[in-house]
Amino acid sequence: MTDEHPAAALPTGKRSIFPVKTIPGLSAVAVISIAVLYAPVFALVVHSFHAGDSGALWQGFSLKWYVAALENREVREAFMRSLTVAASASAIATVAATMAAVARTRTFPGRTAIHLLINQPVMMPEIIMAAALLIVFASIKAATGYAGLGYLILAHAAFCVPVAYLPVRARLESIDLNLEMAAADLYATPWQAFRRITLPLMAPGIAAGAILAFVISLDDVIISEFVKAAGQDTLPTYMLGQLRQTVTPEINAISTALIALTAILLCIFFVLSPTRERKS
């Protein structure tokens, strides 16, 4: 209406004078990056449906490598072992991570220390972690004689704690501390306040942490390779062993199945992810 309103002086329409959201060329770069990122995966998936023996010439579509993989007893065993280890390790890691996150946001002394100590292993080279675990497990084995799957589970649980910790903590920090105070004000004991208010509100974060830990455990090679005893191949270490000999398209089929499983789990993780539902 009057010149006092700078907004009224702007050209009509939604376009602004300085469009920060549409820097030219940015979307092209993004498309190229994604293409480069996914091209090898795409090649792998295509080859898993290849009717021929080698990657050289396309000889038609077939599911025969999937059938071959399913009929391979070693593959089936390795897959079941992977699932067992991932399920147990992610369960242990999630419980530990949840307790650490609660301690981190609810107690005052040592908050930063807890945070740093939990996150440190993420930065540590995996090979060092593997070597360290090997030393510990070797001495336990020498003392007890136990040689079961427990070592693999514990090793996976160890590196899954920081992974599970992140989404749990993010979720917990979005929970208003006043809610626990309100519960206490309404006659809830500290345990009741945790059980009835905090825990249900944390649940999506806990589930997200568990899924992430499961996926990380499922995909692990280095630590598993070090820690596993003879005949304790997980799916990734089995694949590594196979790749050392001859590359068969069977590996492509297994890889594709693993990618599909991981992708599904990660989709669930993103749906549960705390950052997506930060309201008011």
Partner: protein
């Protein structure tokens, strides 16, 4: 509940609280005392950071005083955890449990007290009816409006029938119109339930319209406790006089004392008769006059103080006339606007100033 009713619902005795230590030490409360009667609407009024929230938290059990004690009736509850105090809080942000429905929120306190299921559902229905939220019983708490959230928070806190309800600036997030509406609503709830309400606010108008008694706080000190009328017309000191409503302050020397009034000579030479209240009637004193008790008349009328209008600010119902007395003192007069015609006084005009009978009040500090 039957039988003897203690004289006070809640009492705070000589409460002091220090936060931090060393350089960062802040004294949130300094020797604060108050007695809240059963069935009373009691308001803690003060600017933000005056300690009213800390005091409420102490009554609720979320803070422990460094010294002093909190009593519920005759019982010392200073060290009792919040979940064992029959006192409930309405939080500033309402703190409704987001994963529970409206009805489950209201039921929470009763469930924690282990009440039988039948009693819980009856009480929840009654409470929702009390705050007029019956039709929202099964809604999620993020599907209702701000004022509805406040109603649910009230129902939730009232459901266990506490000895006192603490309200920590619950109206602060509401816009003006809803605020007025909820003020009446709170007043009605207090009257209907007969529970003592302890209401913290920094809005003096809110405090004046809602309270049976007001406790004015500033910088961790309890400044004055009294009825709204006491606080407004007999402020104990400069802080209360300027925080609650507006005041003109004048210096002067006591000339003579007659009962509870004194003649005070202003530096300009005018003599003003002022109420003494609790103030010491000697030497130089400060007295306050509310702007609405200042009258303007024609310049030169007998018994008026000659003055000049320095500014006239129109504000709808009335006009604020800024004046300078010939002796140099400045003051503001609030003049109600007439139904027709422009403002009677304008910048630069001369006028005679007179205070209403009993308008001047000597302050204790």
């Amino acid at each position: 509940m039957a039988g003897k009713q203690p004289a006070t619902a809640i009492e705070a005795r000589g409460i002091s609280k220090v936060f931090g230590s060393g350089q960062n030490e802040t004294r949130a409360l300094d020797d604060v005392s108050m007695q809240i009667r059963p069935n009373e609407f009691f308001t803690l009024l003060g600017p933000s950071g005056c300690g009213k929230t800390t005091l409420l938290r102490m009554v609720a059990g979320f803070e422990v005083p460094n010294s002093g004690a909190v009593f519920l009736g005759d019982e010392d509850i200073t060290g009792t955890p919040p979940n064992r105090r029959p006192v409930n809080t309405v939080f500033q942000n309402h703190a409704l449990f987001p994963h529970l429905s409206v009805a489950r929120n209201v039921a929470f306190g009763l469930e924690m007290l282990g009440k039988p299921r039948k009693e819980i559902s009856d009480t929840v229905a009654r409470m929702l009816a009390l705050v007029r939220m019956e039709q929202f019983a099964n809604q999620a708490t993020n599907q209702i409006s701000k004022s509805q959230k406040l109603r649910v928070a009230l129902a939730r806190a009232l459901a266990p029938r506490p000895e006192a309800l603490l309200l920590d600036e619950p109206l602060i997030a509401l816009d003006h119109k809803l605020r007025k509406e909820m003020q009446l609503e709170l007043k009605r709830l207090q009257a209907e339930t007969g529970i003592a309400f302890v209401f913290a606010t920094q809005d003096q108008q809110e405090a004046l319209t809602m309270s049976d008694r007001i406790a004015v706080m500033n910088a961790g000190h309890m400044i004055q406790i009294g009825s709204p009328e006491d606080i407004y017309s007999r402020p104990s000191g400069r802080f209360v006089a300027s925080f609650i409503g507006e005041s003109n302050f004048f210096e002067g020397t006591v000339q003579s004392v007659k009962g509870d009034v004194a003649d005070i000579r202003m530096p300009s030479g005018h003599i003003v008769t002022a109420r003494l209240g609790a103030a010491k009637p000697e030497g130089s004193v400060t007295f306050a006059v509310r702007p609405e008790h200042v009258r303007l008349e024609q310049f030169g009328v007998a018994g008026t103080m000659p003055a000049k209008v320095t500014q006239a600010v129109y504000s709808g119902t009335d006009t604020h006339c800024h004046l300078e007395l010939d002796g140099g003192e400045r003051l503001v007069a609030r003049l109600q606007n007439a139904a027709s015609g422009g403002p009677a006084y304008d910048k630069g005009m001369r006028a005679g100033v007179r205070f209403d009978e009993g308008a001047a009040h000597v302050l204790a500090d």
